[in-house]
Amino acid sequence: MVDTETINENERWAGVYKLLDRNSLIHPEFEPQEEIKEFIKSCKILVIGAGGLGCEILKNLALSGFCDIHVIDMDTIDVSNLNRQFLFRRADVGKPKAVTAAAFVNKRVQGVTVTPHYCKIQDKDENFYQEFALIICGLDSIEARRWINATLVGMRDEDDPDTIKPLIDGGTEGFKGQARVILPGITSCYECSMDMLSKPTGFPLCTIANTPRLPEHCIEWASVLEWPNKHGDRKMDTDDPKDIQWLYETALARAKQYNIQGVTYSLTQGVVKNIIPAIAATNAIIAASCCNEALKIATTCAKNLNNYMMYSGNDSVYTYTFEHQRKEDCPVCSNSATKLDFKGDKTLEEFMDYLKEKPDIQLKKPSFTLGGKLLYMQAPKQLEETTRPNLAKPLKELFASGDEITITDATLPFSLQAIVSFL
């Protein structure tokens, strides 16, 4: 048995140190210096998410020579995580992901300290995020990405380069994924690329209620319409097998009634939990891309990705690397209002539904104001009731074409200024 003192840093990190000690004719601007090695040891890096991508990211950062790593995650470990979240074992089910992942990496990789934060990203303030040299996201939620993106863009002070926190974001689905580098205020931000997302899946209420055709319609009926009918105020717990079983049986009965085939327990779970297929292999690819960029940004030993790489493994192996452009009227990183076109004779409610579905807006519960005038407020209850009649009114009765309205939503850390032109 060898003791800690026998670790030879130069031998251990030989691969990375060659990159840092040697000049490059391809990247002539890179100057090898000892300080760079010190920097990766001492700088603080934040990992958001300790799931499929997060486990990989923590491992990769630890084996890149980063020693002060923080991880934030509000989730606990589920059995279905074990097929890819390799820092967890069956005995860990139910424990906080951040704490378990940190403990594993700390034990496996000598000299590395991973500090866990078992909470929501929204629980931390700007002072917390200000401490980090860069931030890597391995999230499966659009809402959380929008939040951290807007927060980091908002933190940037043009006169102080230290306030630019590079954000590296990864995402996967099945055999596909993407990795990107966001330099807040410099490159395109997460909000700039919202239109690349597909329409949020959802079925029209009238289809679910009156003309179901797919097994998914029957499942939505069970969860959206039948659940509140039968259970009143009790909230559905999609992690509770009993609740899923109830939904499955209810959906199945409706499917039988309508002669629709294909309702299964697994599909029920997939629809109500919006499950995205996930495998270790794809997470490894995307997390490695993210951490490779982190190492390049932290050391300047090679040019970092500018600024987006897509990966697809369904048919052969295909990557596409390109520069995603900033959106001129980005509600987060530009100073101009977003332009929207909508028919003036449609109602505010129809306008609201349109905004919920529009891929680059995707609001959940928007409120609308015009100057100081309240058009519709989701809360408090009293205001909601007094502004509710406006929902049925056509837009042209509420404001004029070309007016700038303000849209806020509890899920977003910014308000959307929109100039609405009537079609």
Binding site: R12, R22, S266, P277, I279, A284, V317, T319
Partner: protein, 537 residues
């Protein structure tokens, strides 16, 4: 839901139980417990392959634990194979791990048939000589001393995967004589036959009253019926032909639009949006015709795999015009569309019934083919025939070039064309090849030592010799790049190992499950530029 289904839920949604069964019966051999090798195994142990074996004769060094997550501080000085096997085995209690602390070449010398027990052999950071030897044995599957008939069907071939990482560069190469795929997972399998409707479909269309006064009813006529009605009218006016030019397709769209009662008739919008695709004549795709003409399809023997027997049955079905109208079996899948429940379910069952009828015809042909080659009718299960028919337009056969062909019969024209593209990363392939020659010449890797820049000129010499052997000019590869390879000094960067580990494990999963389409045949990634490409060398 049982415990296993719960654990594997997120992957079963991709490859289903059949894919999972294939994984669980796979035995993977890893040659060399390198960082990339262990990363590959991690991504295969987690989803539950049956067994893995690690072969490595070395012991764990400081450098190993700096780049390999599955060798830790306590492993220093111990056999790499043993420790990697232990730490990888912890990832999944359902997977069996084995290790051998020996040199692969000496194992093969004693037992040339050794590799035949594995479904896939993954060799990482090996010399060219070792690669050629293992690849050749996998190719013929170490037949000396092995009775090929005792190997269960489907296991007769051992896929070979070569993997290497150097600094920011990673590469992988697949070599297997033939790989066939039924479940290629195309984005869309809908096959509506609007251009060549079968009688039941026409009858269905006629059942709708387009003059109905009931707005709800009108707004719920399925778009397939709308499209067919207007398509049939068009055909009557145009001598039975479907629209072929852009202008004609627009005319059909306009005709449909004229039938709309309000701008909000979603079903009509759906019909208009489907015009372009429905005007593509339904034919047997050329890729499938190629499969039909393949000697393995034409000449069945008792050794033929079920893929080729089914392909032949498909061919015979298509050739029997009375039964198939010269078309592939119907997939039987329709997209969702605005419709009342009853009419949608009816339409769905019409397509399903026709698909079932086609499957029955193919199934009969399969049984008579089986009999004709001396195999038992029914030995190919109906479920397999159903899947084959459903995806029959998307079947895929990949025949890889062997390493021997890559080295001895280079595709010179192709190589010249790859190198003529200034953005190509084919130069990285050339540099990896030249690095192998450098190692043969000097006994160390380019840039490995302290005086690393001294190796640049010599490596450039190896590059030039290789280029000359292809009849290409010396200056095709920039010396800056050669310098960069020496900068890497054969060092391992964990991120690159993990990236390639992810890519290779995806490819191995595709090879084992015979689902999705693996790359043909060499993948190169340059992490300095964050770009990659696949070359069929």
């Amino acid at each position: 839901m049982d415990a296993k289904t719960q654990k594997y839920d997120r992957q079963l949604r991709l490859w289903g139980n059949s894919g999972q069964d294939a994984l669980e019966s796979a035995h993977i051999l890893l040659v060399n417990a390198t960082a990339v090798g262990c990363e590959i195994l991690k991504n295969l142990v987690l989803p539950g392959i049956g067994q893995f074996t690690v072969i490595d004769q070395g012991t764990v060094t400081q450098n190993d634990i700096g780049s390999n997550f599955f060798l830790d501080f306590e492993s220093l000085g111990k056999p790499r194979a043993e420790r990697a096997c232990e730490l990888l085995g912890e990832l999944n209690e359902d997977v069996k791990g084995h290790w051998i602390a020996k040199d692969i070449l000496s194992i093969l010398k004693e037992d040339p048939a050794f590799l035949a027990q594995f479904s896939t052999v993954i060799a990482t950071n090996i010399t060219r000589e070792t690669a050629e030897k293992i690849a050749a044995l996998c190719w013929v599957n170490g037949q000396q001393g092995v009775d090929i008939n005792t190997i269960p069907a489907g296991k007769k071939k051992t896929a070979f995967v070569w993997v290497k990482t150097v600094g920011f560069i990673g590469a992988a190469r697949i070599a297997v004589p033939e790989h066939t795929i039924v479940e290629t997972h195309p984005d869309n399998v809908a096959d509506l036959r609007i251009d060549t409707p079968f009688p039941e479909l026409i009858a269905f269309t006629k059942s709708f009253d387009f003059n109905t006064q009931d707005g709800l009813e009108f707004g719920h006529i399925p778009y397939v019926a709308i499209l067919l009605k207007y398509m049939e009218e068009w055909k009557q006016e145009h001598g039975g032909k479907i629209p072929s030019t852009y202008a004609e397709k627009n005319q059909l769209k306009a005709a449909i639009r004229s039938g709309m009662r309000s701008a909000d008739d979603e079903n009509f919008e759906e019909a208009i949006n489907s015009v372009l695709r429905s005007c593509q004549p339904t034919v047997v795709p050329s890729s499938i015709k190629e499969i039909f003409n393949d000697p393995k399809c034409v000449n069945l023997t008792s050794e033929s795999s079920s893929f080729w027997i089914l392909a032949r049955a498909l061919k015979d079905f298509v050739d029997d015009y009375a039964k198939s109208a010269g078309l592939l079996p119907l997939s039987g899948t329709i997209p969702d569309m605005k419709a009342q429940t009853d009419s949608y379910v009816t339409l769905q069952s019409i397509y399903k019934a026709k698909a079932k009828q086609d499957i029955q015809e193919v199934s009969k042909i399969v049984d008579s083919l089986l009999e004709s080659i001396g195999l038992a009718p029914g030995s190919i299960p109906l479920q397999e025939i159903e899947t084959f028919c459903k995806f029959s337009a998307f079947l895929k056969v990949i025949r890889y070039r062997s390493l021997e062909q890559e080295y001895n019969q280079p595709k010179i024209k192709q190589i010249a064309s790859w190198l003529s593209d200034p953005d190509s990363i084919f130069p990285q392939y050339v540099l990896l090849r030249a690095s192998d020659s450098f190692y043969d010449d000097h006994g160390h890797h380019p840039g490995e030592g302290e005086n690393w820049e001294d190796d640049v000129d010599q490596l450039q010499g190896n590059v030039n010799i290789l280029l000359q052997s292809w009849g290409l000019e010396n200056d095709t590869i920039s010396k800056d790049l050669t310098h960069e390879i020496c900068r890497y000094g054969n060092g391992t960067i964990h991120n690159i190992a993990s990236f390639i580990g992810g890519v290779v494990s995806q490819e191995v999963i595709k090879l084992i499950t015979h689902q999705y389409i693996p790359m043909d045949n060499t993948f190169i990634f340059d992490g300095a530029r964050s770009v990659s490409a696949v070359f069929a060398v």
